[in-house]
Symmetry: D2
Subunit: 289 residues, 4 copies
């Protein structure tokens, strides 16, 4: 799974399934001097289904510019197979904005991995509806912006956030941001807002999921990373995990155990998003992890 | 965890929490020549909560009969602390009836563990609403009874089942029994019917949970063993587990992976029930596993 | 992952890594009317490493016979890229012989999955060094052969086993066969004998691994499925799993918990072998699961 | 599991097993106005084995001072049953020193949990054989000391470390400290040095365990927290965990995945040590988690 980030590129494809796609794609790339180092594909149904493809390839011997490769791919392969496709070059680090409230664990996990180079992103901005985490964020050399957010001020707050983010970020992570964003806001970042919800969705959506889990007496608690859509906690699931609990655990114990899981699940989801490993189709995801 | 089944006994207690309970119980048993080999306790809240206790003890030097021990315990300790309690002697194997439909995997897992002595029960009867599994069951030397069950015949079918079970069994296992039992039926075996549901409850109750899981695009599937109450798939949860799945898995793959989990989860729940490790309180369980 | 077994075929390739392989393979197959439904590849090192490829494809529109396809593939693609390759048609079920001693759990798991069609194999023969399991095996309609095996009779016993297996099976599973097979025997079935060892190898090779685990006070026990080589418990690992234990577990508890794990781990390994998902290279495996 | 730290105390007992111990202990405490909120016991063998007991109790109504309770317990109960015992009051936070080299992940995890109050300890000192992590440590308000350590200077370095630690700490955590401490050093902190080793011990002791794991082709990697003894990586195991890997993972991938596991495993082990949940006997541990 290791590769040289400077010369790594990735192609993501969604198209109607039919014979010959892989042959066409790989032959095209071969003729342009590219070496394929990862190839994953998936078909929702070989007859009449959707076809999904992810390629990771090395470009030291690429015979044209990156832009020319994209243009040629679209003309020679993309149109022929009616593809929805994109090519990203790993040298262009995606810019990730983070929204957070008061709980710092998910935020800190991301900043920490960023600081040690484990997460190949730029972080232009952290926005919070509370001022509390300013020092923690700025300590990583990351700008912090406090934008208050209440039921009454929601419209203005979202406008301010959109203005702050506009042109500054490629995707947004809700690292335990406890406000519900409007459908208006969400549509600006379709399939580009990653949220961590502290339950095993679709169980326990909405508020206070650890309390809900405690009341139900479940024997496992969960965490779910998903893309945000207009419907609360209903967007395409990226990653989930569970941890064992028992009658001995109080709600506070569940929160403590859950924090560790939230950090891991969110970190994996963000990593996959950054590495172009996720394709959304309908309300589900293909994750080439 | 090993002990001699012939001389092993277990005490289960639920009572209001207050100081002195463990002292009173253990001193009583000590004075009767009993050696305690396992002791688990739990308090829902040290001030004004419920107290739960499970003791496993060895009786080779018991100074009175088992019945006399029970009588004395009730008089000396049980009444004083307003206990709901019971003492079981492991030499008296509980009698387990199994209800099953067509899927055989959960049934076979139980019969198999029974056959190799891993599950210390008697199995007086397997009842099915289909005749298909007769040979498989009788091959283990276990009686099989076919009782048809449809919406129209439910009342008569349940009456026939109750008659067949009456006085023959201590608890009932629904090993993928695909009919919904009436509240009437269930009340005869309160906290004594163990069901395996093929989802991570409370997600995906009711029919076709693997199809539901597939449609939702979850990244983990689950299985849940619980006691049956009048409300479908809402009874106290005993045990749960999850298994990782991905976009590559079809509904049939989920069923296949799920079968393995169902077998394991149900086997653990039944084992704990048989070993008196479960106390039901409200709609939750204390499991001293 | 679902497909029609009658028209499913699989190609496995190992060759020196260099550009153009996937393009050549998929273009060849496309021109013969084949539809690729799964494609996995792996490179040990993009510059000068080994390249591994597994393709699953559907053959209803294949334009030549299966044999002709193989011949053409070898000539057109295989030789050009110096491939070690094979094509298997799923309609040809592999023949699996099982060797077992007295513990029946791993054997029963395989027979059970076979009986319900979950494992697409023929089972021509079960051989045991004890007569005990004859009835259990024959109950599944599978032939059973008792061949005694002691230090003194090893050579004769192995000769008798080889004679019984010769031409009858494609691979062999050691389902807790407690005798050590000679290097002589093993070389007849290189990379075709799957063993289940009841520890997390390389920890606790050899005899009595649960006792070793108990003595070491490990907090997890494990099971390992691997291909057998001349060196005891050192062959290429196919699959492993672990289960949590504590100071409360006796050696017998470890054995009980371990049995469940052994069954699962062996079943997965055998499934992958049957579905041509494993490539051995050096003393390791590539598993396209 | 929740309790008021200010009034929580814990009793740990190891003694020869015989009837009457729990009765004597709980009756003693009851008579002193103590309310027991957790009780765990374990017997290595009911006849002639060792008995282990952990009690957590609340002292708001304690009728004597803490010191008087200890004295009385020793005289009334401890001597009678030949107990090795201790009583700790949670209000007295244990003092934890940390030794670290260059890898910061395990250290940061501990400092972070400390900073948010999840780990009830004082941290008087972090010692490193490299100067690199000074700023990171001091940022948490924790003193940092650089003590160089090489084969030639080992004796002096250990003397300097012992002097710095003397009287300042109750236990020591090796958070990826890459030097091997001498038996001389270790004996000052018997059962009080917690190490995290980056493999599933006893597999892959010593140097470069991820490289060892990669070479062996294991399908799970592990991490082990254990008490340090004079024999390298052989001390009593406290906690272990494993994570799934495949042929796709390079050694660097194993290190990345392993870091997450090391952090979790070490954090759990330290928590249990701090909460007096671990009893060492022989080369094993009883963990009342």
């Amino acid at each position: 799974m290791t590769s040289q980030p400077e010369t790594t590129a990735r192609l993501l494809v969604t198209c109607p399934d039919r014979p010959g796609i892989v042959s066409a794609v790989t032959t095209f790339l071969y003729h342009h001097g590219v070496n394929i180092t990862e190839l994953d594909q998936h078909s929702s149904d070989p007859s009449g289904g959707k076809f999904f493809l992810r390629l990771e390839f090395q470009t030291p011997d690429l015979d044209v510019s990156g832009e020319a490769l994209k243009r040629a791919f679209g003309e020679v392969v993309g149109q022929r197979f009616e593809m929805d496709w994109r090519i990203n070059f790993a040298a262009d680090k995606p810019r990730m904005a983070i929204l957070v409230s008061k709980h710092d664990h998910a935020l800190m996990e991301l900043l920490w991995r960023y600081a040690r180079g484990e997460l190949r992103v730029e972080i232009p901005l952290v926005i919070s509806n509370h001022p509390d985490l300013r020092a923690a964020v700025e300590g990583f050399g990351v700008p912090f912006k406090h934008i208050a957010f209440s039921a009454e001020t929601q419209q203005a707050a979202e406008a301010e956030m959109l203005a702050a983010l506009d042109g500054q970020c490629d995707f947004v992570v809700l690292a335990r941001y406890m406000r519900i964003l409007s459908g208006e806001f969400v549509k600006y970042y379709t399939s580009r807002i990653v949220n961590i919800h502290h339950s095993f969705l679709p169980a326990f959506p909405g508020g206070d999921p650890y309390q809900q889990a405690y009341t139900h007496g479940v024997k496992l608690i969960g965490a779910t990373a998903h893309y945000v859509t207009a419907e609360l906690d209903q967007g395409p699931i990226i990653e989930q995990d569970t941890a064992r609990v028992s009658h001995r655990h109080s709600v506070d114990d569940l929160k403590r155990l859950g924090r560790d899981m939230e950090r891991q699940v969110l970190a994996r989801a963000v990593r996959w998003h950054v590495e172009d490993r996720i394709i959304v189709y309908g309300n589900k995801t293909v994750v080439f992890s």
